[in-house]
C-alpha cells in the first residue's frame, strides 16, 4: 500500500473522534511537525471539511463534504486495500475509459478512479448508462495481474464479491451475484460490473474493472430508470456515505485479491456459489437464437457458469443472457 498523503493521515486521526486532537500529538504520531499538521488541516478545509480548532485543545472534525474525495476514502482504507493512488473527478466521460488511459500511461496496480458523474457512462456493448450526479458510486480499478487470458474473468467475480461483502458489513442487506457481471438486491439490479483488458502475446497487460453501484437513488429516481433497479437507500431507508462504502469495497477487494493471488480461487468459487442468485435455480441461457435450459451450478475456476442441462451432464457457459425461469418445466 502506498503511503497516504498527510491530509489523509490527519483525517484518519480526526475520524477516530474522542474529543479534540492537538496538532502536537498528531504530529508526534505521524512523525511530522505541528506546523505540517496545521497545513494539512488547511488543505482539508479547502476541500470543504469543517474542522474546528480550539486553543490549547486541538482540532475536531465537525463535518465532511459529501463527495467521494480521495482523503475521505484513504482515511478509511485498511492495510492491504486496493485503491491507491485514488483519483477523484467531479465529472468524466467514463471511469473505465479514464482508467484505460491512466493504465496506458503507467498507472500502477490498484489505482482507482472515482467520479461523481459520468457524461458517457458505458455498459457492455457501449450501452449508455446515466445516473443523477452524486447518487451512485462509479469507480474503476486498474489491475496488473499475473494471469492468463482465460483467468481474467475471475476478476469480475472478485469485484462482485467485494461489493456483496461491503454492503453486508455495513447493513443487514444481502445482495446476490447474478452471473456473470451483475449484483442484485431483492430481485432487482443493484450494481453492474464492466471488465475490460488489454493483452499482448496472450499475457494480460492490464485489466480495468469498472463498477456502477446504485447507492442513494430514491424510489422515485429508480422508477425513472428503463429497467427495474434497486438502490441501497431505497432498500435500507437510509442515505449511505459513498466514501465509506468505497473504502470498504476497496478493502474487501484487497483481501479477495490477496486470496486469489495466493491460489485461493477454489475458496473464492465456494463463496461465489454461496452468494449466487442463480445457483440451484432453473435458468434459461439465451444466445441469439439459441436457448439452453438447465439448473445453474456454481462457477468453474475460470469464472464460467456451470449449467446442468440434464442429470449429470454439465456444460460450461461463457456467454449469453441468463434469466431465472420462475416456473420450472424441466
Amino acid at each position: 500500500m502506498e503511503a497516504l498523503s498527510l491530509p489523509s493521515q490527519v483525517l484518519r486521526l480526526l475520524l477516530r473522534g474522542q474529543g479534540p486532537r492537538s496538532g502536537q500529538a498528531m504530529g508526534e504520531s505521524l512523525g511530522c511537525s505541528r506546523a505540517a499538521v496545521g497545513k494539512a488541516v488547511a488543505r482539508l478545509r479547502e476541500q470543504g471539511f469543517v474542522i474546528q480548532a480550539r486553543c490549547n485543545q486541538g482540532y475536531t472534525l465537525l463535518n465532511e463534504p459529501p463527495e467521494v474525495l480521495p482523503a475521505r476514502v484513504e482515511a478509511r482504507l485498511e492495510p492491504g486495500s486496493l485503491g491507491l493512488p485514488l483519483y477523484h473527478f467531479d465529472e468524466i466521460d467514463s471511469t473505465n475509459l479514464a482508467a484505460r488511459r491512466q493504465a496506458e500511461s503507467g498507472a500502477p496496480h490498484g489505482a482507482c478512479l472515482v467520479a461523481e458523474h459520468q457524461s458517457a457512462g458505458r455498459g457492455r456493448l457501449d450501452r449508455r448508462w446515466q445516473a443523477p450526479k452524486g447518487s451512485c458510486l462509479l469507480f474503476s480499478i486498474v489491475l496488473r495481474p499475473d494471469l492468463r487470458l482465460d483467468q481474467v474473468f475471475g476478476l469480475t467475480n472478485l469485484a462482485a464479491l467485494a461489493v456483496c461483502r461491503a454492503v453486508e458489513a455495513m447493513s443487514p442487506l444481502q445482495p446476490l451475484i447474478k452471473w456473470p457481471n451483475d449484483v442484485f438486491l431483492a430481485g432487482r439490479k443493484l450494481a453492474g460490473i464492466l471488465t475490460e483488458f488489454t493483452s499482448r502475446a496472450e499475457k494480460v497487460e492490464f485489466v480495468v474493472v469498472g463498477v456502477g453501484l446504485n447507492v442513494n437513488l430514491t424510489p422515485a429516481q429508480l422508477d425513472k430508470l428503463p429497467a427495474p433497479a434497486a438502490s441501497l437507500k431505497a432498500a435500507s431507508g437510509q442515505t449511505w456515505d459513498r466514501a465509506a462504502l468505497l473504502a470498504r469495497i476497496l478493502s474487501e477487494a484487497g483481501k479477495l485479491y490477496g486470496l486469489a493471488a495466493s491460489g485461493g480461487w477454489p475458496e473464492l468459487a465456494g463463496e461465489y456459489q454461496a452468494r449466487s442468485l442463480l445457483a440451484g435455480k432453473l435458468v434459461s441461457v439465451r444466445d441469439g437464437e439459441a436457448e439452453r435450459r438447465g439448473v445453474a451450478q456454481g462457477v468453474d475456476e475460470s469464472g464460467a457458469l456451470l449449467l446442468e442441462e440434464s442429470p449429470g451432464r454439465v456444460s460450461v457457459i461463457r456467454h449469453g443472457d441468463v434469466s431465472v425461469l420462475s416456473y420450472g418445466d424441466s
Binding site: N181, A304, H319
Partner: protein
C-alpha cells in the same frame, strides 16, 4: 503463414479485418466476448490477411484459428 487463434472460448462479436488487408503488429483483428467481457484480439506480427475463418456471431473454442496471415 501465421495463425491468429482464440485465446479462450467465447463468441465472435466483431471481425475487424478482411482478406487482403495489410495489418501491423497490435492491430485488432477481431473482438471476442465471453462472460460479458469484450476481449480485443490483436495481431502479434505484421502481415497480410490471407483467410478469415470466422464470422460475427459465431461461437469459438480456445485455440480455434480466427484469421490466417501470409
Amino acid at each position: 503463414m501465421a495463425d491468429i487463434k482464440a485465446p479462450m472460448g467465447g463468441k465472435v462479436i466483431k471481425v475487424s479485418v478482411n482478406v487482403g488487408d495489410s495489418i501491423a503488429e497490435d492491430d485488432e483483428v477481431a473482438v471476442l466476448e465471453a462472460m460479458k467481457m469484450e476481449m480485443p484480439i490483436l495481431s502479434e506480427e505484421d502481415g497480410t490477411v490471407a483467410e478469415v475463418k470466422v464470422s460475427a456471431g459465431q461461437t469459438v473454442e480456445a485455440e480455434q484459428v480466427l484469421v490466417v496471415l501470409s
